[in-house]
């Protein structure tokens, strides 16, 4: 049971990161390799903000772990991390991607340039992390609660709550506000959106901000849940998760927010269950990484639209017809 909650929370943290990618992919169509760095930015920003609160001198090296434990009074830091991640993503859109898009760069060129951006961001992160000697740290843990005899920790709870909040608020945002509807309009038909007086730059900027913020928050939760990425420095936590992020996003049908959410949860459960099973039968649990990779390959080759490509409305309508209910109109579902 505890393990199930853990894998679910893992999936939710992945969902936050991957839906961030989907969010701006829908409007900008950039398969962004630097997305992993937004995740790492989240982790480093979290540590830095913790350091600011308790005094940076005291927080050098391993000492930060004593302070960085996730407790309820650190929620404002999570909020700040969202903003920092969002600003980094928005800045990379303005400085790198938008100028290239305006020149009519191909998807491949945008992808290659994102690799360059990834390297630069990673360098900056390395500079910060090694200045404070934070390259290798164990997970700082989180407050644990006892709910009906099951031990859950704050990171798990937060991952689930934030995933739900993100889903609900994004559903509201994209269906109720004019800016949100414009965002879906740009994703649907960029030319017509322009002819309707929608500033595609502003819409994309907002999408990148939200996407980067989600990635950063997901990164913090992932770091607290799983600790450092393999034997690598924590700066590479984003890079180590990037392929799983791509896997979840493609499984969800690149650019579909809800699809990505569902995809991440499925991947989270599958990955962790397989890893546990491998450990049980005495094999290297790293083999479980094969799950996201093969899922991506399968999806790309056989159902390139991902989960979003499945005709859910048709399916729902058929079910409703059987049950005898009238379909209430499909709000959302397309971003």
């Amino acid at each position: 049971m505890e393990f199930l909650i853990y894998s679910l929370a893992w999936g939710m943290a992945l969902a936050l990161m991957a839906s961030g990618l989907s969010f701006y992919y829908a409007v900008s169509k950039v398969a962004n390799f630097a997305h992993g760095e937004y995740v790492s930015v989240g982790v480093i920003a979290y540590l830095f903000l913790v350091g600011l609160e308790y005094g940076l001198d005291k927080c050098r090296g391993f000492n930060i772990v004593n302070y960085a434990m996730l407790t309820l009074d650190k929620l404002w830091i999570i909020a700040a991390v969202f903003i920092i991640g969002g600003l980094v993503a928005a800045a990379s859109f303005v400085v790198v991607f938008w100028p290239l898009m305006r020149r009519g760069a191909s998807p491949l060129q945008l992808m290659v340039v994102s690799i360059g951006l990834m390297f630069i961001l990673r360098f900056i992160l390395y500079v910060v992390a090694s200045t404070f000697d934070w390259l290798t740290l164990p997970s700082p843990q989180a407050t644990t609660f006892n709910v009906a005899g099951v031990r859950v920790n704050l990171a798990e709870v937060l991952a689930m709550i934030l995933a739900v909040i993100a889903t609900v608020s994004i559903a509201l945002f994209t269906t109720k506000t004019l800016l949100g509807i414009s965002m879906r309009a740009v994703a649907d038909n960029p030319d017509l959106a322009e002819a309707s007086g929608i500033s595609s730059f502003r819409v994309q900027l907002v999408a990148w901000f939200i996407g980067g913020g989600l990635a950063a928050v997901g990164g913090v939760l992932m770091f607290i849940l799983t600790g450092p990425p393999g034997e690598r420095p924590i700066v590479e936590i984003g890079w180590m998760n990037l392929l799983s992020i791509f896997a979840a996003a493609t499984l969800g049908g690149l650019g579909s927010f809800y699809g990505t959410l569902a995809g991440s949860i499925i991947l989270g459960l599958a990955y962790n269950q397989v890893a546990a099973w491998l450990l049980d039968i005495g094999l290297d649990p790293q083999l479980a990484l094969a799950v996201p990779f093969s899922v991506t390959l399968f999806v790309l080759l056989f159902m390139p639209q991902g989960l979003a490509g499945v005709d859910w409305h048709g399916l729902l309508a058929r079910v409703q017809k059987k049950v005898g209910l009238r379909g209430g109109g499909g709000v959302g579902g397309s971003l």
Binding site: T175, I181, R184, A187, D188, L192, A193, E194, S196, I198
Partner: protein, 259 residues
């Protein structure tokens, strides 16, 4: 009340895609409230002309004047704020948005124009309420859209989609509206209804530029007509004159001369 329609002047425009020039010095003019039909054979540059006016092509030479503004170098996303509306032939609705969401998007332009005072004092004072009122008017004009307002635009029939596209444009309270083949691939009965709406729009004082495949029908409802051939204006005159001309119809428009 400010005068509704705006005059539009296209002066000797050379335009095209990249290095491929398609329009070779086209001049067109429409007065406020006039319904101008632009007809001609396939590939003559009719659609390109509308795209050029809206800024989707490269203009090498010439000017586009709307009212007192020179809009030659204004990007497409700014054009609606000057009171221009453009309904492309394909992809003219957001198919993954509901009908109501499609219509609501026009609010962005409407509110901006209302606040700048282009739409009169009342709209300036309370743009939100006026937009709601306008929306109700549009629903009255197109009752089918009200019925289907929760449906995804992609599930509408061709005619309904066209009506939605026109409704979206009308909601911006445009002063010039440009329609690119609004009746293409529609059943004659539905096309007839669309033509009626277009006449209604022109009667309300909006300047209408209409590009049509169905030259005869378009000229019957239009005030003025232009025949475009190979990127140049081959003939201009009143719509009646063109219809009555013994040779023009046969030469360019595939019309049979009257018996």
């Amino acid at each position: 009340m400010v005068e509704k329609g705006l005059p539009i002047r296209v002066l000797e425009v050379y335009a095209g895609y990249g290095k491929l020039e398609i329009l070779h010095g086209v001049s067109i003019s429409a007065d406020p409230g006039e319904l101008v039909a632009i007809v001609g054979p396939n590939g003559s540059g009719k659609s390109t002309l509308l795209k050029t006016i809206f800024g989707f092509t490269t203009i090498y030479r010439g000017k586009i004047i709307v009212g007192n503004w020179d809009l030659t170098r204004v990007p497409p996303s700014k054009k609606p704020y000057y009171g221009l509306a453009y309904v492309p032939q394909l992809g003219n609705v957001f198919s993954r948005l509901t009908v109501e969401e499609n219509l609501k998007l026009s609010k962005i332009v409407y509110v901006a124009r209302a606040k700048s005072g282009q739409l009169g004092e009342e709209a300036k004072r309370d743009p939100d309420r006026m937009f709601e009122k306008k929306l109700q008017e549009i629903y009255e004009m197109f009752p089918i859209l009200y019925e289907r307002r929760w449906q995804k635009a992609g599930t509408l029939s061709g005619g309904e989609r066209q009506m939605l596209a026109i409704a979206r444009a009308l909601l911006m309270e445009p002063r010039v509206i440009m329609l690119d083949e609004p009746t293409a691939a529609l059943a004659p009965k539905v096309a007839e209804e669309i033509f009626r709406k277009i006449v209604e729009i022109a009667r309300s004082g909006v300047t209408v530029l209409l590009v049509e495949q169905n030259a005869k029908r378009a000229l019957e409802i239009a005030d003025k007509g232009y025949i475009l051939v190979q990127g140049q204006v081959a003939y201009e005159g009143s719509a009646k004159e063109i219809l009555a001309h013994p040779e023009l119809g046969k030469l360019y428009l595939g019309l049979l001369p009257k018996a």
